[in-house]
């Protein structure tokens, strides 16, 4: 019988476009220091660490986690890195949960960190093109890299295929409204990269096309930062909770799926994000959720692109496929609507520190469940080529 596992501590560093004054060593330690403080325990009480770091190139080091073992006070303890593209953070939570649920450890640190914008393009004298280039090395090296594959054009392939099937969905004024809404939500996230960057739907519509059909203000921004969670098995979690006075947020469901990386018969179904479908529905099953529309209150969704946010919500079963615009048109994600989606501002406004992003989302979901006294949240990570990878966690408040 597997053990229940809950979140008893969480922290994030500020997400910034560039941390000149800190390396990823210090960012990782900052998040760790604050997370153990939040849990009211010593780092000596933590038995294992699970690192979420996406890209060796960003950190300019292969095995980038090795210096962190000592820096974070985990010398001579279990340490393992998870790297699954954009879904790294969510998969890291999943891995840590498995070890705790199996009884291998009583407590674990889930630590995500990324320092993306040290990458720098000396031709355009800006970081973003080099960050995009670095991510481009993630594409299939035989059949796609040399065609100019990027994360954006890869997700755009899926979005356009969806739009081929549902030409009346994902309307430009709806995606613009969602982006604008998230820019309002981010005002309360003091750790976000774009906390003070509020935009109108018109500004979103007027922003430049980067990769058709994505406009600049509909795309997540690359950022630098770290996020950490302290997980504990049931007895330890309850003891920590009693000490801190903070409720345990239980991880009651997890689901993951990785699709085929090539498209066509028996392979990737281009108009769908089946990884999101399988990931979410497996998580519902584990959590005993029969009707997600009734159970899910808060969604912290990996919004790499606003269009993909809408498709992901449909794959989660929260809106119908082909009617994802009902998120706005029927007011489902408007203030006071049925779902609270990305109250942290999402990755479009908080920033995307890849390995740390989904862990930041879990930090936010935990805060929101406690603050708003809600029961259930869904935390999501998506990644790899053509939205191939997904990991979903269901968090529940007692």
């Amino acid at each position: 019988m597997s053990k229940r596992v809950g979140i008893v501590g969480a922290a994030v560093t500020p997400f910034k476009a560039k941390w000149y004054e800190k390396t990823y060593y210090e960012l990782a330690q900052m998040a760790t220091r604050e997370a153990v403080k939040d849990a009211g325990i010593s780092i000596n009480d933590v038995e294992a660490v699970f690192y979420g770091i996406y890209n060796d190139i960003f950190e300019r080091t292969c095995i980038p986690e090795h210096p962190l073992q000592g820096i974070c006070g985990m010398q001579n303890k279990f340490g393992m890195r998870i790297s699954t593209g954009g879904a790294t953070g969510a998969y890291t939570i999943s891995a840590a949960h498995a070890y705790l649920a199996a009884g291998r450890f009583k407590t674990a640190l889930v630590l995500g960190v990324e320092k993306a914008t040290d990458c720098f393009d000396f031709l355009s004298m800006s970081a973003t093109p080099e960050v995009i280039k670095s991510i481009g090395w993630s594409a299939d090296s035989f059949f796609e890299q040399k065609l100019g594959w990027t994360a954006a054009d890869s997700y755009a392939e899926v979005v356009l295929a969806y739009m081929d099937e549902h030409p009346k969905d994902l309307k430009p004024h709806v995606t613009a409204k969602i982006s604008s809404l998230l820019s309002e939500y981010v005002k309360t996230n003091k750790y976000a990269q774009r906390q003070h960057d509020q935009v109108t739907p018109e500004e979103v519509m007027n922003s430049r096309l980067v990769v058709y059909p994505f406009k600049e203000l509909e795309i997540c921004v690359y950022t630098e930062g770290a996020a950490a969670l302290i997980l504990a098995e049931e007895e330890t979690a309850k003891r920590i909770s009693k000490n801190t006075g903070m409720p345990v947020i239980w991880i009651t469901g997890l689901g993951e799926a990785n699709e085929h990386s090539f498209a066509g018969k028996n392979q990737k179904v281009m108009p769908r994000i089946m990884s999101d479908y399988y990931g979410s529905h497996r998580a519902y099953k584990m959590a005993g959720i029969k009707d997600p529309k009734k159970s899910i209150n808060i969604v912290e969704l990996h919004d790499a692109f606003i269009h993909q946010l809408e498709i992901s919500m449909a794959e989660f079963g929260l809106v119908p496929l082909g009617r994802a615009d009902s998120l706005i048109e029927d007011g489902l994600m408007l203030k006071g609507g049925k779902y609270i989606v990305n109250p942290c501002g999402g990755l479009v406004y908080s920033g995307h520190a890849v390995g740390a992003s989904n862990i930041m989302s879990a930090w936010s979901a935990r805060n929101e469940l406690i603050k708003r006294k809600k029961k259930t949240a869904l935390v999501h990570g998506t990644g790899s080529t053509i939205a191939q990878y997904t990991a979903v966690a269901i968090l529940e408040h007692d």
Binding site: Y20, E21, I57, R60, D121, F122, L123, S124, M125, P129, E130, I132, K133, G136, D140, F142, F143, E144, K146, L147, G148, W149, T150, A152, D153, A156, E157, L160, A161, M163, D164, D197, Q198, E203, N206, S207, R208, L209, V210, V211, Y212, P213, K215, E216, F262, A263, G264, K265, N266, Q267, M270, P271
Partner: protein, 330 residues
């Protein structure tokens, strides 16, 4: 067949050794120019026949499973995982197919693909195949814009004249832009296609009304550019950037001069501009600079013409400056 005189890393991409100081909250932070690089002699292994067929024979191979009959292209495996790993067999495929879905178009490319942008990348299901091959897609009619190539568009594989045994040896264009003979030809070469050369649009002589509109737009652009020049965020957008742009519009010509954080508008003709921007309606450019619509979108939608596609980067920077000024006003 290797390309001659090309380096794996072009010299212009390689920065000098150096460092700089950035002061944050009164503290000096050291930032060093740095690089990670690894060279390879990369084995193409089981894919060798596929890439050699592209390079030497102008053929496209797929692999067929004798059990389930599925034909995969590219032939990315040797045994079918759907049939208990039955061995597959290489087969030659047709060089015409249809787009599996509408391909995205990349306008903002990184340094490796700057010369290609804007480019489409989509998936073609070739006749005789069941799965899709990732390819670049182009049009012979100029800049690739949304709507030219869609789901179901029939396309023809075209081989580059200078092939090196990579997937980029081929690309696709719509068959509707080719003659029947070209569509039927196996191993059609890029040089056997008529590509539209960029021809600078001619502008009509301005009427009195158009001259008035030009003067109005010019006044606004001067004002915005002055503002850009004093907005720290906008100046940062063009740090380290230098371009002399000749702008031609109905009503008059002027120059936009960018130089490492400085931007100026001068009413003059340049002898050697870095590129030419033609805006039939001067208001189109004025709107873009005033953040009333992206200038890049105007290029994409052919309301503005630029003499070098690579200069999309500069256009992006102008868009970014417009946004920076708008943000600074908030």
């Amino acid at each position: 067949m290797a390309k001659k005189k090309e380096k794996l890393i072009p010299a212009e991409y390689i920065p000098d050794v150096g460092s700089q100081i950035v002061t944050i909250d009164g503290k000096k932070c050291l930032v060093a120019n740095d690089v990670m690089y690894t060279f390879y002699q990369r084995s193409k292994g089981e894919f060798s026949q596929f890439f050699l067929a592209l390079r030497d024979d102008k053929k496209i191979l797929g692999c067929k499973c004798p059990k389930c009959g599925i034909v995969r292209c590219p032939p990315f495996l040797t045994h079918c995982p759907d049939c208990d790993f039955a061995p597959t067999k290489l087969v030659e495929l047709d060089q015409v197919g249809v787009m599996l879905s509408t391909p995205p178009i990349t306008y903002f490319a990184n340094a490796l693909f700057l010369k290609m942008a804007p480019y489409g990348r989509g998936r073609v299901v070739l006749k005789g195949a069941d799965t899709a091959l990732s390819v670049n897609v182009y049009t012979t009619t100029g800049i690739l814009t949304p709507g030219i190539i869609k789901k179901g568009t029939q396309v023809k594989v075209v081989f580059r004249d200078d092939r090196v045994g990579e997937i980029s040896d081929i690309f696709c264009i719509p068959t509707s832009e080719l003659t029947r003979a070209q569509v039927a030809r196996k191993g059609l070469l890029s040089s056997q296609i008529n590509w539209e050369a960029p021809v600078e649009p001619t502008l009509p002589k301005a009427t009195a009304k158009e001259t008035e509109a030009y003067n109005k737009a010019l006044k606004e652009m001067k004002s915005i550019i002055r503002l850009m020049n004093v907005t720290e965020r906008a100046r940062k957008d063009i740090a380290g950037w230098k371009r002399d742009i000749q702008v031609k519009t109905t009503g008059g010509h002027f120059a936009i001069l960018i130089n490492n954080g400085d931007i100026k508008l001068e009413e003059k003709k340049l002898v050697k501009p870095d590129f030419v921007l033609v805006s039939k309606n001067p208001k189109t450019l004025a709107d873009g600079l005033a953040y009333r619509g992206a200038i890049t979108d105007s290029v994409i939608m052919k309301r503005l013409w630029i003499s070098k596609n690579m200069e999309f980067t500069t256009i992006f920077k102008l868009d970014r400056m417009a946004r920076s000024v708008a943000r600074s006003k908030k």
